[in-house]
Amino acid sequence: MNSLTLAPLTLAGFEAVPSVKDATIELALRGNADMTVSATLGKYLKELDAQTRHKGVRAVHVKLGDLYFLSSSCFQAIAAWVLSIAGRAPEDRYTVHFETHAAQGWQKRSLEAIRRVAPAVTVVS
């Protein structure tokens, strides 16, 4: 698989770093995803989605080990991304695998709602 043309997103107190690993894309979210981040994050995820579809990738692993806070506006951006994938024909979908960190117990609770609204494309571990 070719590398992504999507550059890391770096904002005050937050960054999103994509990489290609084997046949999947990894996206590490780090820092605090506050309301100042949400609009940019939403656009960034749309671009990531476009590149993921273009490359025919079947899974994106979102690594949350260094994510300390997720505001509702950023939560909405992530939900919009996942729901857009779930709304497609099965052959056009890919799986979004959220890898939570045990020390950040809130992550599983937050993401459970996303898993509930888009169970066909969401994995939370």
């Binding site: 509702s72 857009s84 809130w106």
Partner: protein, 174 residues
Amino acid sequence: MDEFGADPPDRDSYRTPTLAIQFQPHPGLLTQTREFVRSFCGTFVRDPDAVYRLTIAAHELLENSIKYSSDGTTNMTIECHTGERKSRISIRAENRATPERVRAVRDAIETLRDADDPFQLYCDLIKASVDRNAHSGLGLARICVEAACALDYRVTGDQLAIFAETYVDHGGLE
């Protein structure tokens, strides 16, 4: 004394640690304010997950105030009413609001309070929110579901106060 042994807010005030902030909301101050709230709650609540729940509630109330306060000022008060078995934590955010905003908050809180399954309602709100380009509208639902807080509101003139309250295991405040 309530069912968990927590004192009411107007008694034994020395046992009711309180943090009051008059906040001129600015998105760039949210992180620092949230960390201040987290530190305050963490002094009295040992469970990190409970502290995080309280932090979510305070954060979402502040974020709402940034979006909707009529004059840019919000007063936030956090009170820890310590009891023998559990502590009751109350968060109040008060700001001037338009009649439209007051109606929206009233409707949102009453819908959440009346819901047979608040988590399902939250999921429905998530689905409905994705078509919006501006505000998510999920903040109050998140306070109810993720932060496990009871919500209430009070309107006095154009002042809107939103209350979020929850019980946590006793934090060992001596």
